[in-house]
């Protein structure tokens, strides 16, 4: 913020300067770069450390962990337009499954789940935000892919939500949950732009030689309105999005999601700038701690009793209740994960809070012991 205001001020000052020296014919092009210089130099004379979110400092050698601790807040990139995962509620708060991961990391690192500065990002802008240092952590329903992991300079954490792209059509058109993809031949298929879904359906239909008309909209709400009215025959996006729409819409019973095996794998999880293993460990183990807590039945309600009375050694270590805890070695406070569970909750709690109301089941996102894919390494 310091940056922005300084800039605004600089700009106002330029107006004053321009008015004062109006007799002189200058061009705007000379005025343009000056605010830029202001940004680089502004924080120095100001109140020293006042709110300067310096972007480049940590690149030299230190980890993002040190930067975040020194800053006192976590800059987290989130979605603001995806019900359940990241949105703004009526009181202007960021809420959602992905948002809670940011809060969990903040609770682990800073001991305060509210010490997060959320940066709402569009799908197109998110990776540049990581690379430019604008955000420390990207938690915005981002699919872990090979190119993003390597080419785009990101590192991905453990998958927090196993998703897969599916399609939705109306039962009245003869679709069932087992309909094959070939049934969409000749259909108008609608989806949202700027994500992998567009590419997936293009590739999948091309592989089967299907001739479809693809309409891509910026906003999934428009897609849904068109689907309801019949202007779109079929919609496609991540299964979670389809399920939540189907569950919350009055007409949802007449729709069906297919094929039963999604046309793509969409492992969604947190990402950060690559080659920062200290920071990576922190994010990774925050997620694992939430999963282990669920395995052991530790919830935000009973965590205090669990600390006083640990069920086993692993839980004691994880909650910082025993001497051989490992958090301190990671550069975190000993009670880091206690704070996570206390302030945010375990994985199941977070899921139940944000996704269950939308009609999503645990499915693949159940614990491994319940037949799901969530499997955390042991904390020892």
């Amino acid at each position: 913020m310091g940056k922005k205001l300084t800039l605004l001020t600089a700009v106002f000052a330029l107006v004053v300067a321009a008015c004062g020296g109006g007799a002189e014919e200058t061009t705007t092009t000379t005025a343009a770069p000056e605010p830029g210089e202001t940004t680089t130099t502004a924080p120095a004379p100001g109140g020293g450390d006042a709110g300067a979110g310096g972007g480049g400092a940590e690149q030299a050698g230190g980890s993002l962990l040190d930067t975040v601790i020194a800053r006192g807040t976590l800059n987290c990139g989130v979605n603001e337009t995806l019900a359940g995962f990241g949105f703004k509620d009526e009181t202007g708060q960021f809420v959602g499954f992905d948002v809670d991961l940011c809060r969990a990391v903040a609770a682990a690192v800073l001991g305060d789940a509210d010490a997060v500065k959320f940066e709402p990002l569009t799908a197109a802008a998110r990776f540049e935000a990581v690379n430019s240092g604008l955000i420390d952590l990207l938690s915005r329903n981002t699919t872990w892919t090979q190119s993003r992991d390597t080419d785009l300079g990101l590192d991905f954490g453990p998958t927090t939500y196993y998703d897969g792209q599916q399609l939705m059509a109306k039962k009245a058109d003869g679709f069932t949950a087992d309909s094959p993809l070939t049934d969409i031949a000749g259909a108008v298929v609608c989806t949202n732009a700027g994500t992998t879904t567009e590419k997936n359906i293009t590739e999948a239909s091309a592989a089967l030689g299907l001739d479809i008309t693809l309409q891509t909209f910026e906003d999934f709400n428009i897609v849904m309105e068109n689907f309801k009215s019949g202007a779109c025959d079929v919609v496609t996006t991540d299964g979670s999005g389809l399920v939540s729409r189907k569950a919350t819409d009055p007409a949802g019973d007449e729709w069906v999601i297919f094929p039963s095996v999604p046309i793509s794998k969409e492992p969604l999880g947190p990402a950060w700038k690559q080659n920062d293993s200290v920071w990576g460990d922190v994010v990774r183990w925050t997620v694992y701690a939430m999963i282990i807590a669920e395995e052991k039945g530790i919830t935000s309600a009973n965590v205090d009793q669990m600390v006083a009375n640990p069920p086993d050694g692993e839980a004691a270590r994880l909650l910082g209740a025993s001497e051989d805890e490992i958090q301190t070695k990671m550069g975190l406070p000993a009670d880091a994960f206690y704070q996570v569970i206390k302030q945010v909750g375990n994985y199941g709690e977070v899921f139940d809070r944000h996704l269950t109301p939308l009609g999503l089941n645990r499915g693949l996102n159940a614990l491994w012991s319940d037949g799901g894919l969530l499997y955390a390494p042991p904390a020892r």
Binding site: F12, A83, K88, G92, E128
Partner: protein, 579 residues
């Protein structure tokens, strides 16, 4: 036939017949005066009724999720602005109210109206409400209240007009009083009906502040003098914009320790400024030019040596002052004005920069500019910044210097030739590519600059039109008085040109206000994006796309329509643009 009749012998008679025959004659005259007009009327009436019924049936159907709008009112207004800090927004609104109140006392709108007009408005409202009541679907709960209320209003209006008789047409009610009455009525409504439940106390306070400022303003005018107060208020209005926005974003407390730490830097510059202005205005042109050259070098040099930002900016301002000093401050009076101007500029610069580097003091979750707050910031900030750009480009385009003319013309034509959305994409996606890594502007700042650059080109054309409309004699007279080009421009031509194009500029502000909705496409959370993307994606509001769009359209319409009406009135009052 005609004979001379002394006026006092024959009092003007109202045309009673036309009024008494009333509706029927009116219909014959205005709707069915020819056969094709009659057909047209019938066709149109059927079309309007059909369309309105359809629209009401759609908008008032039980499927519509109107319930999601009221709980999100704060989101539409300010997006994620921290709720405990909303007081600041009320305070800034109160500042505006004070200015409005003082201005209304100073400029004293003289318009008058009559009871007849007011009653006619009441009657028309009743007719409209009754008509709406007839057109809405029968299932709609508000149908009977609309019908009954409409009928009551019609009766009230009609009876009132009849009872008042010819006296109803005397224009003796001051417009201001009527406005005050409307405000009181609005207060009564928000206290009695369940609208604005959570904000009725602040709204009441705002209205009281407005009234108080107006009442204080009246004796103030007498004490200070109208002319002085007008000048002061004009300045305050311009300054209020940056002050308000700084207070929305900063802790409204000046960090004194920072100010004190700057004093050793600022005070010398201030004194040097006085001396330089004095010298530049007194010494001959050549010496002043030498001083200016020195100052320009110094002003550029401070950017390369470690020094507080405020000094760097101050030096730039100082160069502006001294450059203009030999031309404009050669008289004693001009010199005094320049000294005062320099002091004021220093004060406000220090004030702004101090606040700018201060902490926000906001317990915030993220970027807190959004909603209508951001929409207004974009429109006002863009407009304010577009002025220097537009004026410079207009001067450049009308200049005799070919390279400047070429550059300005090229800029204006290129910017006017492309859509705003490409300029916004340019600022959002292309500009970062040209900047060193790690240096990027905030999205809001980029959007403001893009809007200003875009709007500046249009403004330039307006100002150019104004410059060209100035009679040649003005230029020649200025030359004959021995004015330099700079003096002529600043004192003679530019003021006239700007005055002549006020209507065009106001029109541009209005269209700018609408155009700010495009920033939604590059992902800024302005009012339109909150309504289009953010609210309809809350789990509780899924599927409320159309309701939000309609609401947004209505809100934009209310603002733009009232702006354009106000600007029409301003235009008439100034009597410009009609020449």
């Amino acid at each position: 036939m005609t004979v001379y009749v002394a006026p006092e012998l024959k009092p003007p008679e109202p045309p009673p017949e036309a009024r008494q025959l009333g509706a029927w004659v009116w219909l014959r005259k205005n709707l069915f005066n020819t056969w094709y007009n009659g057909v047209l009327t019938v066709v149109l009436a059927v079309g309007i009724v059909w369309g309105a019924r359809g629209a009401f049936a759609f908008l008032l159907s039980p499927d519509r999720l109107w319930g999601v709008i009221p709980p999100n009112a704060t989101n539409y207004a300010v997006d994620v602005y921290p709720r405990p800090e909303l007081t600041r927004i009320w305070v800034t609104l109160a500042v505006v109210m004070v200015l409005v109140g003082l201005s209304s006392a100073t400029w004293r709108p003289t318009g008058k109206t009559s009871w007849g007009t007011i009653l006619a408005v009441v009657r028309a409202t009743g007719v409209a409400a009754f008509a709406v009541g007839l057109l809405v679907p029968p299932t709609f709960v508000g149908r009977n209240p609309l019908l009954v209320g409409g009928a009551v209003l019609v009766l009230l209006g009609a009876v009132g007009i009849r009872a008042a008789g010819p006296a109803a047409r005397e224009e003796r009610l001051p417009m201001l009083g009527v406005l005050a009455g409307v405000l009181v009525l609005a207060l009564v409504v928000i206290w009695l009906l369940p609208v604005a439940k959570t904000t009725k106390v602040p709204w009441t306070i705002e209205v009281l502040v407005l009234a108080a400022a107006h009442l204080v303003g009246r004796p103030l005018v007498r004490a200070v003098g109208e002319k002085t107060l007008k000048v002061v208020l004009s300045f305050l209005w311009v300054l209020s914009l940056p002050v308000i926005y700084l207070h929305l974003e900063r802790k409204p407390v000046i960090p004194w320790e920072v100010v004190v730490s700057w004093l050793p830097w600022v005070l010398p510059v201030l004194v040097v400024g006085y001396l330089a202005i004095l010298y530049a205005s007194r010494a001959g042109r050549e010496r002043a030019a030498a001083l200016n050259a020195l100052l320009v070098v110094a002003a550029l040099a401070v950017w390369f040596v470690p020094s507080p930002m405020v000094v760097r900016l101050l030096m730039l301002v100082l160069v502006g002052f001294t450059l203009a000093a030999p031309t404009f401050a050669s008289s004693g009076n001009g010199r005094r004005n320049f000294m005062v101007g320099w002091s004021g500029a220093t004060f406000f610069l220090v004030y702004f920069v101090t606040l700018a580097v201060a902490e926000t003091g906001l317990e915030t979750q993220g970027d807190f500019l959004g909603g209508l707050n951001l929409t207004f910031l974009l429109a006002l900030g863009g407009m304010l910044l577009s002025f220097p750009i537009g004026i410079m480009m207009a001067l450049g385009r009308t200049s005799t210097m070919p390279i400047f003319r070429l550059l300005s013309t090229g800029y204006i034509e290129i910017v006017r030739g492309v859509p705003l959305i490409t300029v916004l994409f340019f600022a959002d996606k292309v500009v970062p590519r040209f900047l060193p890594p790690g240096l990027d502007f905030d999205g809001v700042v980029k959007a403001i600059i893009a809007i200003a650059l875009f709007s500046g080109a249009y403004l330039a054309e307006n100002v150019r039109g104004g410059l060209q409309s100035i009679p040649k004699g003005q230029y020649e007279a200025a030359r004959a008085l021995g004015m330099t080009t700079a003096q002529m421009t600043m004192l003679i031509t530019l003021p006239q040109a700007l005055r002549a194009v006020i209507p065009a500029i106001v029109g541009q502000v209005i269209s700018l206000f609408k155009d700010t909705s495009l920033v939604a496409i590059i992902g800024l959370a302005d009012f339109f994006r909150v309504a289009r993307d953010i609210v309809p994606n809350q789990p509780a509001s899924l599927g409320s796309q159309i309701e939000n769009l309609v609401m947004a359209a209505v809100v934009y319409w209310i603002f733009t329509f009232s702006f354009s009406r106000a600007s029409l009135r301003l235009e008439r009052k100034l009597g410009v643009g009609t020449r």
